[in-house]
């Protein structure tokens, strides 16, 4: 029996790209290799060879260039978004797609019945949908000095997809969006371009403490009075706005949740 080689990639764009590079450079063939994300607690498989991949900026840019030039810009967009998803198999899914992608070029994305293409589009949809949800349901709070502060807890790493939307929308505001789970934050200073930073959870309470935002209460009032009681339909409400997205929405704070 042929031995399977498993490439353990770091959980980052560069990590996955380097894994993709090393996997194809190894010339083992797609049947005998697999990509996995190094979570630190992977279930090790017997009779496999494990190779840990160190992120390498040069290999990363080579992979990105190859996808953009030999497949298409659109394919790179899909691959990029797929890399942000929270699915455990995403590194290997992308590798499988690239086999089809490099073979058929730009038209590979139209081969919807190909399992690898289908999976890539599925990942893209998952991430795209989640980032759209947060454009809808993210809530800012006005804190000290009129700074707007929002918290999100997304499954996929959508912060970089969500922030440009708000940067375009609120160019004159100082705002901060924190991914609570990952501890990363997008910072947008007034009339400047935004950047990524990190924020420790213990600092969040300092930011929030001692501020009363009167519009929160006005919003809660509006939320309640705009519903038609004769048409109550909590099931529909839940399927339109899943509980997962309500964590930081003021209208769903305990006193409102019924």
């Amino acid at each position: 029996m042929d031995q399977t080689t498993i490439f353990l990639c770091e959980d980052s764009i560069a990590g996955i790209c380097t894994g993709l590079y090393d996997a194809s450079a190894s010339r083992l063939g797609y049947r005998r290799l697999r990509l996995e994300l190094n979570t630190g607690a992977n279930d090790m498989e017997l009779f496999c060879r494990y190779i840990t991949v160190d992120p390498d900026p040069e290999k990363t840019s080579k992979v990105v260039r190859a996808i953009r030039q030999k497949i298409s810009e659109q394919a790179w967009e899909y691959v990029y978004r797929a890399m942000l998803s929270a699915e455990a198999t995403r590194a290997d899914d992308i590798y499988r797609y690239l086999l089809t992608g490099f073979r058929f070029g730009a038209s590979s994305l139209n081969r919807l019945a190909d399992p690898a293409v289908h999976r890539l589009l599925e990942l893209d949809r998952l991430v795209g949908n989640e980032s759209h949800y947060f454009k809808e349901f993210l809530r800012f709070e006005s804190i000290e000095n009129d700074v707007l502060f929002a918290r999100i807890r997304p499954k996929a790493d959508v912060l970089t997809l969500v922030t440009p939307h708000f940067a375009d929308r609120l160019p004159g505001e100082n705002f901060l969006i924190l991914d609570v789970g990952r501890g990363t934050a997008a910072v947008h200073p007034q009339n400047e371009t935004w950047f990524l930073s990190s924020l420790a959870p213990e600092n969040v309470n300092d930011l929030l403490s001692g501020h009363f935002d009167e519009y929160r209460d006005l919003w809660k009032t509006f939320y309640q009075s705009t519903a038609i009681q004769e048409r109550r339909n909590y099931e529909l409400q839940r399927s339109n706005m899943p509980l997962h997205y309500r964590e930081f929405a003021p209208e769903f704070e305990k006193d409102v949740l019924r």
Partner: protein, 519 residues
């Protein structure tokens, strides 16, 4: 009628959003507009919902009335003059502040401003225009604004609002003129359709002007010979849909053929009323003259109602059939180029002998069926008379309109997946625009089996009864209408459970003996 003084902003908001909640449209779609430094806001053509209320309806806009004081006595309306409720009015500044502060916090996508009639239609419309003007010009708000045109207001005021808003709507109120006469004596078909026509003409003129500007720009920059440029898709072939992301995919493919079909069901109401209102103007109409100082501000060059026009009517307050309602809907799309027609299941809130008694549950399932049919008209190339006939003027409560239609047309089905054209695929129950497009794309590269269809994301729960792959059915069965109806209705029931529950219990206890024929 007493206007309450000294209410807090919160109390006013509670009263005036409660009074506005029966208005249906809360969509924020139809226009893409990027943000701009120095101002606040952008818009997104797909529309963005920001919350969902306890009734499951989307909250996208700050939906409020400017005032709930009203001189009219429309029987169905919560704000009618004869109702004894607390009356109050927002100042323009209050509306602007609420909009901006809610918008900054990402609570809303913009403002939906409607109003009771304060003293006169003109005074009301003027106050609305002032509010919008302050919001756009002083607060530099670039987000979405949906505003009601008040029937009976001067055309200049309506034109002015049109330049400030993204979408305008005038409520048709009730599906027929008879209903209107009985329940809203102060309103008439003519009063409602005249501004609707004015806005339609304004939109048409604005779009052709925008096209000219684009062409001019293109002519200066393009290196293509003129002949090639005229033949390009940006030309005039699909002119009404090219700026319309909502309807683009289907109307573009379907537009021409739809117009060819004649309409045996007379949308008489709309046609009769049309004779007394100004005609459609193919040439640019004068929509720019306004009362506000438009020149000198950025509004001088602004678009006119760029996200289109919509309307709504109340379902279940008057005795019309579904067929009449759908015919009116179709006529509105055909003759007034509306973007959307909304239906509002009547909630019995007023004690009135001419209306359903208080406590009558709103006809939610009927409203749901009408929306399904509305989709079929707009995106699937169906005509109203195909869906409902004189013998069957109401929708089947157990089946959606597309399934009912398919069962009545066994001559068309089953459809072969590899060879059927787009329009035929769209008529298969369970296949939507997206699925049909995916099938077209995928079948160019390989022979599709039912397994492949599933991989493409096509759901076969209903479509499986109507499709063949290489001549074989998904389920080994005969195409028998009675059998199909029972099968499809069983699947449908779960979808509509929530809706029909409010119309009375339809679920039933399973019985071992009856259901499994053991007795």
């Amino acid at each position: 009628m007493l206007i309450q003084e000294g209410l807090t902003l919160e109390q006013k908001l509670a009263i005036l959003s409660d009074a506005a909640k029966y208005d249906v449209a809360c969509t924020s779609s139809g226009i893409d507009r990027r943000g701009q430094s120095g101002s606040i806001g952008n818009t997104s053509a797909c529309g963005i919902c920001h919350c969902f209320a306890a009734d499951g309806r989307c909250i996208s806009l700050l939906k409020i009335l400017m005032t709930n004081a009203c001189i009219y006595d429309c029987r169905y309306c919560i704000n009618r003059v004869s109702n004894d409720t607390v009356r109050t009015t927002f100042t323009p500044e209050e509306i602007c502040r609420l909009t901006i502060e809610f918008y900054r916090r990402n609570y809303i996508e913009g403002l939906f401003l409607s109003s009771g009639i304060l003293n006169s239609p003109n005074e009301t419309m003027e106050q609305i225009c002032r509010t919008l003007w302050i919001l756009r010009e002083e607060y530099h708000f670039r987000g979405y604004i949906h505003v009601k045109a008040i029937p009976g207001a001067d055309p200049e005021l309506i034109a002015c609002a049109g330049h400030l808003a993204d979408r305008m709507s005038i409520n048709l109120e009730l599906p027929t003129g008879d209903g209107l006469r009985a329940l809203a004596p102060a309103k008439s078909r003519k009063k409602i359709l005249t501004p609707m026509r004015q806005i339609q003409n304004g939109i048409t003129a604005d779009r052709s002007a925008a096209r000219e500007r684009k062409k001019l720009k293109g002519a200066q920059q393009a290196v293509l010979p003129a002949a090639l440029r005229d033949a390009s898709p940006a030309g005039s072939v699909y002119r009404t849909v090219s700026s319309d992301p909502d309807t683009k995919p289907i109307s573009a493919a379907n537009g021409p053929s739809r117009k060819c079909l004649s309409s045996p069901v007379s949308p008489g109401e709309i046609a009769d009323a049309e004779e007394v209102i100004p005609p459609r103007a193919p040439a640019p109409a004068d929509v720019g003259s306004g009362i506000m100082p438009l020149s000198g501000s950025h509004l001088a060059g602004s678009r006119f109602v760029p996200a289109g026009q919509s309307t709504q009517m109340i379902i279940g307050a008057t005795p019309e059939t579904d067929r009449q309602i759908l015919a009116v809907t179709e006529a509105l799309y055909d003759r007034f180029d509306l973007k959307r027609v909304f239906f509002s299941a009547y909630t019995a809130i007023n004690d009135d002998s001419r209306l359903p008694a208080i406590g009558t549950p709103p006809p939610l399932l009927r409203e749901h069926r009408l929306y399904q049919a509305d989709w079929l008209l707009r995106f699937y190339g169906f005509r109203a008379e195909e869906l409902l006939t004189e013998d069957h003027p109401f929708f089947n409560t157990a089946l959606d309109p597309k399934c009912s239609w398919a069962i009545r047309h066994p001559e068309i089905f089953p459809v072969e997946i590899m060879s059927a054209d787009y329009h035929t695929l769209l008529r298969v129950p369970g296949l939507g625009v997206r699925s049909a497009r995916r099938i077209l794309t995928a079948r160019r590269y390989q022979h599709l089996t039912f397994e492949d269809l599933k991989k493409c994301g096509v759901v076969l729960k209903r479509a499986g009864y109507f499709l063949t792959c290489s001549g074989t059915m998904y389920r080994p069965l005969r195409f028998d209408p009675a059998y199909l109806e029972a099968e499809l209705a069983a699947g449908e029931r779960a979808d509509c459970r929530a809706l029909s529950e409010s119309a009375g219990p339809t679920g039933r206890q399973m019985s071992l003996f009856d259901d499994f024929h053991l007795s």
